[in-house]
Every structure is written in structure tokens, then in C-alpha cells.
């Protein structure tokens, strides 16, 4: 049908040309994009006629037209331009500006299907490469922060290479993953954060899950564009994998355009400085000690005498500080003093404040080099690139080095076959000192914590100057008499977690065109990586755990493979003149294989030697999981007169790890898009509404995620459970997981409505969505009563109902045609909530992340993920007059309430932000462009051990006022709980802070996590084409960029300078907890990009 139509068109064209006037003249010229690069394929049409041509490869065009007519230049994604033809004009060269409204843009949707954005009945955001490349973050997810509504990015910490959480439209599940699916060049891409768990034990945040999130293997500079599919209607074709939304990445290797391309080499070189952003404001008035007691106690805490001589709290009151303002050297009163040679340390130690923590951190340098080459001929095009990232963390011992190499291409064969493919290799080397969770006193678990031992260093302690290594045996030494803190420098030099990743991913696709309208594509994708993890610590650490202190050396490989096969039949027809129809039908299989192998050695023999044969105990590490998912899907789209679009699609999935009856699930979706401005001509005006689109979508999806083997009951074998006189005892023990053969997949459904509009001469664009999402039959790793013989099972219980709003508004505050001043300002706004509406009967609370008595919980009627823990005990209903008053004990401190009357763990906070906003400004003048991105999170509580420790140990400026006494507001009660009167017990500053902000009920450590952040600032200059004429460069630009230059968590204590963008429970479903997991980073530097 279409073939016929174009034939008629050609005839008509020929006819028109025949009868045209003879006074026509030849116009030629060059078309360039905003950066001065030639723009091939631009449509040039003589207005009001069918005469047209396209610009060629170098952007040149030639066309015949008459004086008085005008030429219209149009190109997808750019503003159309019109130029009149005058008698004098023979050359018209123009430079096209991108269409900020981008409403005619074509976006890549599910399964790689390109569609016009206006036809979509659901929300899709696109982020173009100029918002991604030349950034200081090598992690593509962190680059996305604040750039699109509805996507929440959370950093595990500011360490180079640390994990990143990407959640779209909030949480919908609490046992399955909520992380977005990554699709790179059409095939699934593992974005796992394996977090260094061994033998299948859930990656415990307690011992520090420092592993990277595997999208770190992508170089942002190699990305052509990113589409974010937010809702279920958008992602139905990805099946259950797409339920959390999809980050669709097209790399430059994956985007090899049809048709000839000019060979172009692009080089980007960036250099940035990387510094700690969240250094607390330390006070320098008082030093180490407790209760302003004697300084030679050498406490963890900083409640000692002042650094001033006289007066209350001055060091003259301390008999251990002499007239030279020195005190006995701390090492001379420790339990390792006998190991020190004569004169190893001086006898006396100066009593003065030191810049210890500041000096511990360093300024890291980040260097990123990317080279991209593209080119090709009429039928074969290619792209290849190489990049090298060298990132030095601001924490000693932390760094990242990444090399990527990739090639992609497309060949159009003469026999209706088209072959495309890409192949990428990445080597990623990440290293960090151990970062176990810390409660403000070493590490909570068995490992070591670099930050746990740094941040609360008393001001009088010379962290850098005190020797860290015992000269006798290399073990850690430090200032405490019991030598019970590990010297941070010892940790840096004797312990490390590293991850060396070798990864290959790519795809190959064969397309056969049955006709212009129907084609068949078979695509195979593979994503394989090997992660070599090494965690070690030499013997002589100060861990409570004897095993860790004996020296450990854990080496294991994670091998992960995703195979993905896809067959898609696509067609495109016009049913009548006004009705078009297209369809896709496909089948897919996806296999995930994870295999872990390694050795855990403990008990180092010779200090410092890291070979397994230098350890006395060696244990295997082995763990395997595999899962296949089969899917069949189809979609059909109809359009009526470019004004009404409708799409229906459906998919059925079969998963391999469920029992036969429950392994299959069908999920349909439908969406519609209506363009009133197309239907009602009167609605549209230049000064009013330029474009209006209304959309609605309904989508469903499923979740098969649970424990890898939820329907199998087995026993664990341990060949080394106990070392008796008879040798190692072998044990069999039943698994704590109860199999549930009746487990069904989780079902999600979502309804969304949206509006997109362009207003006032295209100055204002609006894109807003409202969605309502329901998750039913939630798969929950449900803790069950241990008295049943098991501690958990996977069940389908409960329901979560959520809704939310996402909106983007863009305004051209100033517009300029001729390189004058322009200013575009945009706001992204996201607000969503998820309420738990049902749990299984009798279960009132499920704590799914964190500790069993302090973590994130699902509780009926509450936001999913509320934080629970101990509260301050308060007067209850028994005394209505005083209800709510804190109860203070006889020493003047708060009392903890571990559980409510109903036996629940009390609610202490809600980590879900009220809303998240980002504010983006782009200003351009001549060849300069300035971009400022500010993000704002309002609300969202965080339990912070960092703040609690800094306050409780008296380090920051917040605690400087310490000569008076304090009385906690509250009441006293007698033995029977009867109120005896208001609290009048005076306590000193040390007890006030230590007992009531640090060693206190959990509730006290919860702060509002609202934060305003200067996320990104960049100033760019691109050299004008004229200046480059005599150089080999086609374009040359330079950018100065800063990232996270300033932030203010305005509801946390000022002096702690705390950055709430931290994921203390790791990349998972836990939120709102900080266990001294590491400061955030601030980066600034410059980047140069050249093409030739």
C-alpha cells in the first residue's frame, strides 16, 4: 500500500516539476548543527510544494527554487527554519538549533522499537549525550542524578567505585529487587551489586558491602542516549524484568546509523579533582578525654580538658598536663609498650589540637580519556571506541581504574538482510580499604571499618604522626591503653577489598526485510563478567573477632552470564488513509547463570604474605544459581490521523525456579495518546497552546524474584563446624528457609495519566504524569516463627498501593536566534508514596532490611520502608495529663522503649522523601554555555551514626558549649511507673551528649534528611568554526565542571556537615540508615573535547 502511495507521489512530483516556472534558480549551502558540525539528512523543502532534497554527508545541499518562495529546513529533534529566497540569494548556509520542545522526537521504547514520542501513551524521558558526557562521575547512574523526573539515585558512599541504587517511581516490593533494569543496545545488562557476599549469604551490610554496581562498566562518554521507561505500560514487553522501570542505553557502538557517514574521530580528555565533601566542622577548644577528666585517660571521646590553660575546664586543672603543656605519651601506658624499642616514641606528648581527620584525606585526581571513531560507506557503517578512567579516591587506598574497548557496526546486504552487532570489553579495577558498618566504635561486625576509626579521632590525637605498626610483629598500635582501636593508617596499609572485573558484552542481530513493511529480527545478546574479589587483612588487626585478627585472605570469583535470545516480527501498514497500524510479535529466552568459586583463608603465618599457603586454615567458597525465563510477547499500535494513538501489548512469562503450576504469568497493558491540538484546530495558536497531548496507560507486570530456590528444602553441609580432638567435625543442618511450592509470582499493575504541552511560542514545555501502582501477592521473604522449625519462607502476602506525580517544566526565559543570550530553565519534580495496605493476617510488621530490632519495615497503613527501632520511653495513657513526656531515669538519661504495647518495634522515622526536585538552568551566550543543576530533597529521615558519633563524642562545633550543665526535659517515675515529678537531675555535657545522642534510644539518632545540593555546574566554551579552519579540528570545546560543590542538609546539626546521600544498608531495599559508611565526594575540573 505504502509502495503504491510513494509511486503516485513520484509521478505527482514529476508533474509539478514539469509545469514549474522557468525563472527558477539554484540555491546551495551548508547545514550545520549547533556545534558547527555538518548535519546530513536535513529535509529541505520549497514551502508549499513537494519539491525537496536532503543535505548530504557533509551537510551540503542544492535545490531549485524561485525568488519569492521560501525554503523550509527540518530535521528530527531540531527546530524547523524557514528562509526566503531573494534575487540575491544563491547560497544559504544555516545552523540548526535543537528543538528543546522535542515533541516530534523519536524515542527508543521497549525491545528497541523506535516510536514518535507523541504517539506514546506513557511516560518516557530521554537524556541526551550532552547531559551525560564529560562528567566527573564515571558511574552513569550518578551522572543521571537530577536529570530526569521519577528516578531516584542513591550513592552508597562517596568512595570511588562504591555502589549506586537506581529506583524509578519508588519502591513497589520489599523482598524482590527494586532496582531498574538496564538494557544496553537492546539486550539485558547486569547491573548487580554483588557486594562481595560469599556462599550465598545475603550480602551483609554489617561487614561492609563495598562492591561496585556493575553499570560502572559503562563509560558515560560512550553513551549516545538514554531513555528511561518509567511505567509498567512502557515496559510490558520486557516482562517481569522490566517491572521496576527500564534504563535503556544506546551506546555509540550500538547506534550505527543507516546510510553513509563521515569518518569522524572524537577525543575527550577530562581531569578532575576529587575531595571529601562532608568533612565535619571540628571544634578546637577541647581535646580527648571524658567528663573533662584527665587527658591521659586517652578515651575515644573528646570530652577532655580544654586547650586553654586557665579557667573552668582549662588544662591547668589537669595534673597530668605539665607546664610545657605536655602529657605522658599515650604509647607508654599501653599493653604493647614492652614491644617498643627504646626511644621509639618521645616521653611526652603535646597537648594541642590537630588537624588529624583533614590530613587523613587527600585530593584525588580523576583522569578520563575517551576516543571514539565512527565512519562507513553506503552499506556498511561502524563505530569503535576506547576509554580509560583513572580515579583516585579522596580516601587513601581507594581508587578505580577502568579500560573499555568496543566496536559496533551495521551491514546492509543486498539480499534484504541487515546485520548489526556490537562487542565490548571492559576491565575494571576497584580498590578500597574495608568499610564495615560502624556504630561509632570500631566496626559493628567482624570486619574493619576505615571510617569508623577516623571520624571521631579526638582533636588532641595525632592521627598521622603516631606510628601505626608494632615494630615487633607489624600489628596495629594506637593511642588507647588497651590498644583496642585499629589505627586507620594500619588499615590503609594492611587491609583492602578489591574487585577486578573483566567483562564482555555485546549483541548480534540479523534482520530480514520481507518487504518495506514487514521484517523479522533475531537478536542474540550476551553479557558475561568475571569479578575477582580479594578481601584481605594482615594479622595483627584489633578486631574483636579472633578470626579476623588472625589475618584473613578471601579470594573468590563471581562469574555471571546472561544469555538473551529474541525473535521479533514487526510490521507497519496503513489500514486506510487515516488509520495506520503497526505490530510486533516476539519470543524471548533469557538465562542467568551465577557461579562463585574461591577460597577463604584465615590465620596468617608470616606477616604480610598473601598466599593461601601462608594461612593455617583454608575453606572453600562455592555458590551457584541459575534461572531461565521464557517470554512471548506482542503489541499492536493504531494511529488515527496523527491525532489519536492507541497501543495494546501483552506478554507471558515462564520462570524456571517456581513449581510447575505457578511458573507462568500473563500480563497485558494498553495505552492511548490523544493530541487535541491536532483534532481541534482552534485550540492551537502560536501565542497560546502550540501542542497538547493527553495520555493514559494501564500496565501490568510480575515479579518472580525471591530466594533463588524458593521451593526446595535441603540441608547445609559444613565440613569444618568444630575442631575437636578427633579433628574437624562434619555437620548437616536443616536449612532455615522453608520451601513453599505454592509460591506465585508477584503481580503489579499501574494506571498512569499524563499531559504534555508546548505553550507560548514554544517557550514553555510541560510533561507531567500521575500514576497509581498496586502490588499484590507480594513475594515476601517472610520471617516465620522459628518454633515452626524454620525462620523464613517465601510467601505471597499483602498489598502495597502507591501513587505519585512526576513533572517536568521547561521555560525559555530568554530566547535568541543569533547566538545571543539565551536562558533555559527547567524543573523536575517527583513525589510518590507507597502504602502497605495489607499484610498476612496476624502479621503486623515485617522488618525486611537492617537488623531485627532496627531496620526498615512494612506495617499496615504505613509507608513501605518506615524505620523501626527503640524509642524514648514516654508517659503513656495511664497519665493523660503528662502523656508524651519523656521519662528520665535517676542518672538523668533517657530510657529506651524496645517495643510498643502491641509487641511491635516502635516506628522511629520514614526514609521516604516528601518530594524530590531538581532545578536545571542552561544559559548560552555566543559560544559560551553555563549549566547549573540544583537538586532538592525535602524530607526523608535518616538514622545517622555519623551524626550521633560526632555529637556523642564531642567533636564538632555543635558541642563546643560545654561548661554548663544540662537537664533533659522529661519526668521521673518510681518503681511502679508512676510519675513522681519533672526531671531535675543535672548532667554534664559529656553525659548529655554521650548518653542521649549517641548511646541513646535509636529514635534520637534519626534526623530529617532534607538536603539542597548544587549537583552540577559546568561552563563550556566551543571554539567557533572560523577559528578552527586552519586546524585539523572539526570542533573543539572546553568545559569546566563541578559536581556536588555545595550542599546543605539543613535539618541536621550544622557542624556535622552530614551528607544524607548515603546507603548504609547497601544497594537493596533498605533505606535511611548511615553506619559511618563514608563521606560524600566533591569533584571539579575540566574537560576538553575535539573532533577531527
Amino acid at each position: 500500500m505504502r509502495t503504491k502511495f510513494s509511486g503516485i507521489l513520484t509521478l505527482l512530483l514529476a508533474f509539478v516539476v514539469q509545469i514549474s516556472f522557468a525563472q527558477e534558480k539554484t540555491i546551495s549551502g551548508n547545514i550545520a548543527d549547533e556545534g558547527g558540525l555538518p548535519l546530513p539528512g536535513v529535509n529541505v523543502i520549497v514551502k508549499g510544494t513537494s519539491t525537496g532534497t536532503q543535505s548530504d554527508f557533509d551537510g551540503n545541499y542544492t535545490i531549485q527554487a524561485n525568488v519569492g518562495q521560501s525554503l523550509v529546513y527540518s530535521y528530527v529533534g531540531y527546530q524547523s527554519l524557514e528562509r526566503p529566497i531573494t534575487a540575491s540569494s544563491s547560497t544559504i548556509s544555516i545552523s540548526m538549533e535543537p528543538d528543546t520542545a522535542v515533541l516530534n522526537e523519536v524515542v527508543v521504547t521497549a525491545q528497541g522499537i523506535s516510536r514518535e514520542k507523541k504517539s506514546l501513551g506513557y511516560a518516557v524521558s530521554t537524556v541526551s549525550n550532552d547531559q551525560i558526557e564529560q562528567r566527573s562521575q564515571g558511574d552513569v547512574a550518578r551522572v543521571l542524578e537530577g536529570k530526569t523526573a521519577g528516578v531516584q539515585i542513591l550513592n552508597q558512599s562517596g568512595l570511588s567505585g562504591s555502589g549506586t541504587s537506581v529506583v524509578i517511581r519508588g519502591f513497589s516490593s520489599f523482598s524482590g529487587s527494586n532496582q531498574a533494569l538496564f538494557i544496553v543496545d537492546g539486550v539485558p545488562f547486569s547491573s548487580d551489586t554483588n557486594s562481595q557476599s560469599q556462599n550465598g549469604t545475603a550480602a551483609s551490610f554489617v561487614d561492609g558491602n563495598t562492591g561496585s554496581s556493575r553499570f560502572l562498566d559503562l563509560d558515560p562518554n560512550n553513551i549516545e542516549s538514554i531513555s528511561v521507561l518509567k511505567g509498567l505500560a512502557a515496559a510490558t514487553l520486557y516482562g517481569s524484568q522490566g517491572r521496576n522501570g527500564v534504563i535503556l542505553i544506546t551506546t555509540k557502538n550500538g547506534k550505527t546509523k543507516e546510510g553513509p557517514a563521515k569518518t569522524e574521530i572524537e577525543i575527550t580528555q577530562s581531569v578532575f579533582f576529587n575531595k571529601i565533601a562532608s568533612l565535619p566542622d571540628y571544634q578546637n577548644r577541647y581535646g580527648g578525654g571524658f567528663n573533662q577528666g584527665e587527658a591521659d585517660g586517652f578515651f575515644f571521646s573528646n570530652w577532655g580538658p580544654g586547650f586553654y590553660a586557665d579557667g573552668l575546664g582549662g588544662y591547668n586543672g589537669d595534673p597530668t598536663i605539665d607546664e610545657n603543656v605536655t602529657l605522658p605519651h599515650p604509647y607508654l601506658q599501653t599493653n604493647f609498650v614492652d614491644d617498643l624499642p627504646e626511644g621509639f616514641v618521645p616521653d611526652r606528648y603535646e597537648w594541642k589540637p590537630r588537624n588529624n581527620v583533614t590530613e587523613f584525606f587527600r585530593t584525588g585526581i580523576i583522569s578520563n580519556t575517551s576516543v571514539n571513531v565512527r565512519g562507513g560507506g553506503e552499506n556498511v557503517t561502524y563505530n569503535t571506541n576506547f576509554s580509560h578512567l583513572d580515579e583516585v579516591g579522596f580516601t587513601p587506598g581507594n581508587g578505580l581504574r577502568r579500560n573499555t574497548f568496543g566496536i559496533g557496526g551495521r551491514g546492509k546486504l543486498s539480499n534484504k538482510f541487515t546485520v548489526t552487532g556490537s562487542l565490548n570489553y571492559v576491565k575494571n579495577d576497584f580498590k578500597t580499604p574495608p568499610v564495615a558498618a560502624s556504630g561509632g566504635s570500631g566496626a559493628l561486625g567482624t570486619g574493619s571499618s576505615i571510617f569508623g576509626d577516623v571520624f571521631y579521632t579526638p582533636r588532641s590525637i595525632d592521627l598521622i604522626g603516631l606510628p601505626y605498626s608494632n615494630p615487633k610483629d607489624g600489628s596495629s598500635i594506637y593511642y588507647r591503653a588497651g590498644n583496642d582501636i585499629q589505627h586507620p593508617l594500619w588499615t590503609v596499609n594492611n587491609a583492602s577489598n578489591s574487585q577486578l572485573t573483566n567483562r564482555v558484552f555485546g549483541n548480534a542481530a540479523v534482520q530480514y526485510d520481507f518487504s518495506d513493511n514487514v521484517n523479522l529480527i533475531y537478536r542474540f545478546g550476551v553479557d558475561y563478567y568475571n569479578e575477582r574479589n580479594i578481601n584481605y587483612q594482615n594479622k595483627g588487626g584489633r578486631n574483636d573477632d579472633a578470626t579476623y585478627a588472625s589475618g584473613v585472605y578471601f579470594v573468590w570469583d563471581n562469574n555471571n552470564t546472561i544469555y538473551d535470545h529474541n525473535v521479533i516480527l514487526s510490521g507497519d501498514f496503513d489500514l486506510s488513509e487515516k488509520i495506520g497500524m503497526s505490530f510486533n510479535a516476539g519470543g524471548t529466552t533469557r538465562g542467568n547463570y551465577f557461579d562463585q568459586n574461591g577460597i577463604a583463608s584465615t590465620g596468617q603465618v608470616v606477616f604480610g604474605v598473601l598466599r593461601h599457603n601462608n594461612f593455617s586454615n583454608v575453606q572453600p567458597i562455592q555458590y551457584t544459581t541459575e534461572r531461565n525465563i521464557l517470554g512471548v510477547y506482542g503489541s499492536a499500535s493504531f494511529d488515527y490521523d496523527n491525532a489519536v494513538y492507541a497501543t495494546v501489548s501483552a506478554r507471558n512469562d515462564w520462570a524456571s525456579n517456581f513449581s510447575k503450576e505457578n511458573r507462568s504469568l500473563f500480563y497485558p497493558s494498553a495505552s492511548v495518546s490523544i493530541i487535541p491540538t491536532q483534532i481541534f484546530d482552534g485550540l492551537r495558536s502560536d501565542g497560546g497552546i502550540n501542542f497538547l497531548k493527553l495520555r493514559a496507560g494501564y500496565g501490568t507486570s510480575a515479579n518472580f524474584e525471591s530466594d533463588p530456590y524458593p521451593v526446595f528444602n535441603g540441608l547445609n553441609t559444613n565440613t569444618t563446624s568444630f575442631l575437636s580432638a578427633d579433628g574437624q567435625l562434619i555437620s548437616n543442618s536443616t536449612s532455615s528457609l522453608l520451601a513453599n511450592p505454592n509460591l506465585k509470582p508477584e503481580r503489579l499493575s499501574e494506571l498512569e495519566f499524563g499531559v504534555e504541552a508546548t505553550l507560548f511560542n514554544r517557550r514553555v514545555t510541560i510533561d507531567a504524569s500521575y500514576f497509581e501502582r498496586t502490588t499484590e501477592d507480594l513475594i515476601v521473604s517472610q520471617p516465620i516463627p522459628p518454633s515452626t522449625g524454620y525462620t523464613s519462607t517465601n510467601t505471597n502476602i499483602g498489598k502495597i498501593e502507591g501513587d505519585g506525580i512526576e513533572a517536568s517544566v521547561n521555560v525559555d526565559i530568554f530566547k535568541s536566534d543569533n547566538n545571543g543570550f539565551s536562558w533555559n530553565s527547567g524543573v523536575n519534580f517527583t513525589k510518590s508514596e507507597s502504602i502497605v495496605t495489607e499484610l498476612v493476617e496476624g502479621t503486623d510488621q515485617i522488618i525486611f532490611a537492617g537488623f531485627t530490632n532496627l531496620g526498615n519495615a512494612a506495617q499496615v497503613g504505613e509507608q513501605l520502608g518506615i524505620m523501626v527501632g527503640s524509642q524514648v520511653q514516654r508517659v503513656d495513657q495511664s497519665n493523660p495529663a503528662l502523656i508524651g513526656n519523656a521519662i528520665v531515669n535517676s542518672t538523668g538519661d533517657y530510657i529506651a522503649l524496645e517495643q510498643t504495647e502491641d509487641g511491635l518495634i516502635p516506628i522511629i522515622g520514614d526514609p521516604n522523601p516528601d518530594f524530590v526536585m531538581s532545578y536545571n538552568n542552561t544559559m548560552k551566550f555566543k559560544n559560551f554555555s553555563l549549566n547549573v543543576l540544583v537538586t532538592h530533597q525535602s524530607g526523608g529521615d535518616i538514622y545517622s551514626e555519623t551524626v550521633a558519633t560526632l555529637l556523642g563524642r564531642g567533636l564538632t562545633t555543635d558541642t563546643q558549649d560545654r561548661l554548663g550543665t544540662y537537664i533533659l526535659p522529661g519526668v521521673n517515675v518510681d518503681d511502679d511507673g508512676v510519675v513522681t515529678g519533672p526531671n531535675t537531675t543535672n548532667i554534664n555535657n559529656a553525659n548529655f551528649y554521650f548518653n542521649n545522642t549517641f548511646d541513646a534510644p535509636d529514635e534520637v539518632k534519626v534526623y530529617d534528611g532534607s538536603v539542597i545540593r548544587l549537583q552540577e555546574v559546568s561552563l563550556g566554551y566551543s571554539f567557533p568554526a572560523k577559528m578552527l579552519e586552519k586546524t585539523p579540528f572539526g570542533s573543539f570545546s572546553i568545559k569546566v565542571i563541578g559536581n556536588n560543590l555545595w550542599y546543605d542538609a539543613y535539618n541536621t546539626p550544622e557542624g556535622t556537615n552530614f551528607d544524607p546521600n548515603v546507603a548504609g544498608l547497601g544497594v537493596g531495599n533498605g533505606r535511611g540508615f548511615d553506619y559511618l559508611n563514608g563521606p560524600s565526594s566533591k569533584r571539579y575540573g575540566f574537560s576538553v573535547k575535539a573532533t577531527f
Partner: protein, 563 residues
């Protein structure tokens, strides 16, 4: 023709694709390759899982019992919040999820393979565990436990029923142990394969059960006496029921005594000893060593010989904050405050102050029961790998303990103090001999150390010291002496101390909580959080003063009086 060719090509590609996709189309991947299936389980290996968890369970749960009765140190001024429910999660899992479930897998296999010794022994361990659970928590699940399909929310059975189920289990165990079996467990960490010992243990456990229920069961004492008459119980220390730890402190196969690992670590002692117990064992004369309990140097290892604020040593607010404070007014004259003399450095009951840098000063656990060091005035720091390297024991039921059971019946039931004293003497004699025999574990002692140890008061002299105090005391005084000596005996496993205290209210001169209003004494602990939060049929207790079924004494806070 071209179409045909192309079709052929399409089919070839499809075929290759199909072949390659085969491994991704398998839909039966339900079996976990990382585990063995139940039919591959082994009786021996299940037995090992049960016995090692049993030893660990008893040691750690009984440590908490000891904390509330001052045999060990309790952190937390307020009884209501001193122990959060989550404190007990791991113990509860060890009992129900590991031991009981493994036993359920073991039982049919053992019967099938005629491994009745294995079965009988794990039945005794289960009975012991059930008794410990009832004594700690009150009513606990049993009849509906371990059947998740039928009973996803097991009810808590009345404690009395669980007790009687424990008796039934012991009877069944006795018949299994007397039956013909082919072979016993390859490694028996309690009796080393001595089946007669296990039989005595079963009978002795019954005695413990009858003693516990003597307030609510009129026939309990006569049942107790019937076993005494049979003579088939643990009457000699050679038959002591105890879990023997090994010496490996590190993974894999950590097998050193748990309390050794806490105190003999890279950072020195991680725990505090109870000032109350140390002070009591220093004898009436606190100035020198002459009248010390002969076990004190085996129970405690001091890192220094002086205590700030005592015996002319200057107080030190940094190292020992309470050394500058005065004794609280609610302490009695018998109660020590802050720290005993001569370097014994612990903490008072309920002291919840922050932890000062005192690891090099704190008193560590000694060679008994944890396999630590013997205290011969070395005043050296306790470090990892020292002393007996953790090769100690967790007492389960000792012959000396049985003597104290009998002393209780003589003194509290039969009102015959003279008879009671004989049992007290017998108990102390056995206990001292056992404790002192641990000296051989600490191989680091030299002749000088031995000379110091030789100055320790002899058991004979100690017995006469006790005897004269006892004879000079009134009824309450006698009961206090009996109770305190019982507590000294129970160092290492204090379940019986906690039971005794709730049963009799003695000793009345026990060190009070540092908090004058600590809320009522813990009559049973909160249910573990992992059970109470998940089980629809078990609601958390309203408070810590709920009494277990055999405790018919007045409610807290009026009873026990010592708080």
C-alpha cells in the same frame, strides 16, 4: 528462487539460534545445587550439628541467667530494658530451627539405622533445652512446634506440659540408651562415648526438673528422693555432665570456649566480671588473700594488683569513674561498691556507663570454666592464645551441683540445717577439686607462680571458715550462705542460680541494682523478637515480671527482696 534461498537462510539462522538457546529454555531448575537433599542427610553429621549447637546454646543463654543474679555482670540499669527481645533471637533459633529440626530429621534415620545411642543422647539434649527455655521464657511452643504445614503459628504450651514432655523424652532416652545399639556417636563432646554417663545425666536432669517444680508439685520432692535412692545419678565428679570445648579460636571450626574468646582477644577482655561475686569470694576480710575462696584464682584473672580508690590507691575518674563516687544509699553493708580490692576490676550490677579505656585493667575470666589463665599475681595483660586457649567446659549438671540441690531440700524443705551443711561441704569440696584441677590447662605457669598458688587457702580451712560462719548465723544467714555458695558453684552455667533465686528469694544480701528504681526483677525474659513478632499465637509479654509456672512466689517488685 531468491525467496527460497532467503527462506533457507532464515531457517538456518533460526536453527542456530534455537540450538544456542537450548540452555536458556530449561524450565526445571528448582533444586538448589548448593545444598544436599534430606535423603542424603547423615545421622552422624546431624548429631554433630545438634551437639555443638547445644553446647553453645547452654553457654550463652545461661550466661544471661547469671547476669541477673550477679554471678555475671549485667549492663542496664532498668530491668525492663536491660534485655531487648532481639537479644534472644539467636538462642531461640539454635533451639527450634537448628537443634529441634535436625532432631526431627535424625530420629527416623537413627531408628532405621539402629543408632539408638545417637537418638537417646539428642533426646537428653532436647529435654535439657526445653527446661532451659521454660525457665527462661515461661510457656514455650512444643506440641505444635516443627510442623510448619499444620501449625504455621505454634501455640506456647503451658510450661508444666513442656516440663512433663521433657520427662517423657528422658524416659524415652533412657530406654534408647539401655537398648542394644550398634555404635555410638563418633565424637561425643560431652561424655566421650560413656553411655553410663548419659544415663546418669538423664536421671540427674530429672532431679533438676523435680527440684524446680517443688513449689507447685507436692510429689516433686519424693520423686527427687526416689532417684537419690536409686543411686543412678551424677554423684561423682567423674560423671559430670559437661560440654567440652576445644582450643581453636578461629574459623573454620571455631571451638574455643565462647567466654574465652571474648576476654582473650586481640584487645583484651571484652567483658566485665561481676563485682558482687568477686567481692563475695574475697571472703569477709577484704584486705589480704588469707580468707579468699580457693577458687578465686581460677575463676578470675587479674591484669593488675591494685584498684583505684581502694586500699590507698588514688581514685581515677578516667579509668574507673565510680572510684570518685560515693556508695549509693540503697546499698547494704554487705554490698561492695564500684570495685573490690587488690585489682579485682569489674562492674556493679546494672552499671550502664560508657566504656572507658580499661581493657588493660579489667579482670578476665579465668581458667575455669573458660580455659583462660590461672591468676598467680602475674598482673599481665590477657591476650589472645594465652592460658588454656579456651579448651574449657560449659557445665551442664555437675556432681557438686547435685549436692547443692540436696542442700536446698534439706534447708528449705526439710528444715534440717545440719544436714544441709553436710551437702554444702560436699558440694564445695567437689567444686574446689574440680576447679583446681583446671590448673593443668594453663601451661604457662612457672615455679614462682606455683609458689603463689600454694599460698591459697586450703579447701579444709575454707570449709571450716564456711562452717563457722554458717553455724554462727540465724536461719536467714544460713540460707544466704547456702545460696551464695551455690552461686559460686554455678560459675559457668547459672541456670540453676536464676531458678533458685526465683524459687527461694535467696540470697537476700545480694548486690542491688545501681539504679534505685530499676522496675521489677526479671521473673522471665521477654520472648525473642523473632518469635513474638511473627507468631500470631504468641504475644509479647506485657513486662518482665511475668512468672514461670513453677514460681508461685509473690510478684515483683516485692519479691525477691534483694533488689
Amino acid at each position: 528462487m531468491t525467496t527460497m534461498k532467503n527462506l533457507f537462510k532464515i531457517f538456518s539462522i533460526a536453527l542456530v539460534g534455537l540450538l544456542m538457546s537450548c540452555e536458556t529454555t530449561e524450565l526445571d531448575l528448582r533444586n538448589n545445587p548448593n545444598q544436599v537433599s534430606p535423603d542424603q542427610a547423615d545421622v552422624e553429621f546431624l548429631y554433630n550439628s545438634i551437639q555443638t549447637n547445644f553446647g553453645d546454646f547452654v553457654d550463652r543463654l545461661s550466661e544471661i541467667s547469671g547476669e541477673v543474679v550477679r554471678i555475671n555482670y549485667m549492663f542496664g540499669r532498668n530491668y525492663q530494658s536491660a534485655y531487648s527481645p532481639a537479644n534472644f533471637d539467636t538462642r531461640w533459633e539454635q533451639a527450634y530451627q537448628i537443634m529441634f529440626t535436625d532432631m526431627d530429621v535424625l530420629e527416623p534415620l537413627a531408628i532405621d539405622q539402629l543408632k539408638f545411642y545417637h537418638l537417646g543422647q539428642v533426646q537428653i539434649m532436647k529435654a535439657y533445652t526445653l527446661v532451659a527455655l521454660v525457665d527462661t521464657f515461661g510457656d514455650v511452643p512444643l506440641s505444635q512446634a516443627g510442623q510448619p504445614g499444620d501449625f504455621p503459628n505454634p501455640v506456647a504450651d503451658p510450661g508444666a506440659e513442656v516440663y512433663s514432655a521433657a520427662i517423657d523424652l528422658l524416659d524415652s532416652a533412657l530406654s534408647n540408651l539401655r537398648g542394644e545399639s550398634t555404635v555410638g556417636p563418633a565424637t561425643d563432646l560431652m561424655y566421650g562415648g560413656n553411655t553410663d554417663g548419659w544415663i546418669k545425666a538423664a536421671n540427674s536432669l530429672k532431679m533438676k526438673i523435680y527440684l524446680s517444680t517443688r513449689l507447685t508439685d507436692a510429689s516433686a520432692v519424693s520423686k527427687f528422693n526416689a532417684i537419690v535412692s536409686s543411686g543412678n545419678f551424677i554423684s561423682s565428679s567423674a560423671d559430670d555432665f559437661q560440654f567440652n570445648w576445644s582450643t581453636n579460636p578461629v574459623d573454620p571450626g571455631v571451638s574455643a570456649h565462647p567466654r574465652y574468646l571474648v576476654d582473650y582477644s586481640a584487645n583484651g577482655p571484652g567483658n566485665y566480671r561481676s563485682n558482687s561475686l568477686m567481692s563475695y569470694m574475697l571472703g569477709p576480710d577484704k584486705e589480704d588473700y588469707s580468707d579468699d575462696d580457693p577458687r578465686i584464682r581460677y575463676y578470675f584473672y587479674r591484669q593488675r594488683g591494685d584498684t583505684p580508690g581502694q586500699q590507698g590507691v588514688p581514685a581515677n575518674a578516667s579509668a574507673l569513674p565510680c572510684s570518685t563516687q560515693t556508695k549509693p544509699s540503697h546499698y547494704g553493708p554487705d554490698n561492695s561498691f564500684c570495685a573490690p580490692q587488690n585489682g579485682y576490676w569489674g562492674r556493679d550490677h546494672g552499671d550502664d556507663d560508657g566504656i572507658p579505656p580499661d581493657n588493660t585493667s579489667r579482670t578476665a575470666i579465668g581458667v575455669y570454666p573458660a580455659g583462660g589463665r590461672v591468676d598467680a599475681n602475674q598482673y599481665e595483660n590477657a591476650r589472645a592464645g594465652e592460658g588454656g586457649q579456651g579448651g574449657g567446659i560449659t557445665p551442664l549438671i555437675l556432681a557438686s551441683t547435685i549436692d547443692f540441690y540436696r542442700a536446698e531440700i534439706a534447708l528449705f524443705v526439710n528444715n534440717s540445717p545440719g544436714n544441709a551443711l553436710n551437702f554444702i561441704n560436699a558440694g564445695i569440696t567437689k567444686s574446689v577439686a574440680k576447679v583446681q584441677s583446671f590448673q593443668s590447662l594453663d601451661t604457662g605457669l612457672d615455679a614462682d607462680d606455683q609458689a603463689v598458688l600454694d599460698t591459697v587457702q586450703s579447701v579444709g580451712s575454707f570449709l571450716s571458715q564456711i562452717q563457722s560462719l554458717y553455724n554462727g548465723a540465724n536461719d536467714t544467714g544460713k540460707k544466704n550462705i547456702m545460696a551464695n555458695q551455690f552461686f559460686v558453684n554455678l560459675y559457668g552455667n547459672s541456670f540453676d542460680g536464676y531458678n533458685f533465686y526465683r524459687r527461694t528469694g535467696f540470697p537476700t544480701n545480694i548486690q542491688p541494682n545501681l539504679e534505685p528504681n530499676p522496675s521489677g526483677f526479671i521473673r522471665s525474659f521477654f520472648y525473642p523478637a523473632n518469635e513474638a513478632n511473627t507468631n500470631q499465637n504468641i504475644n509479647q509479654k506485657p513486662n518482665q515480671t511475668v512468672q514461670v509456672f513453677w514460681d508461685n512466689n509473690p510478684g515483683s517488685p516485692s519479691f525477691p527482696v534483694g533488689n
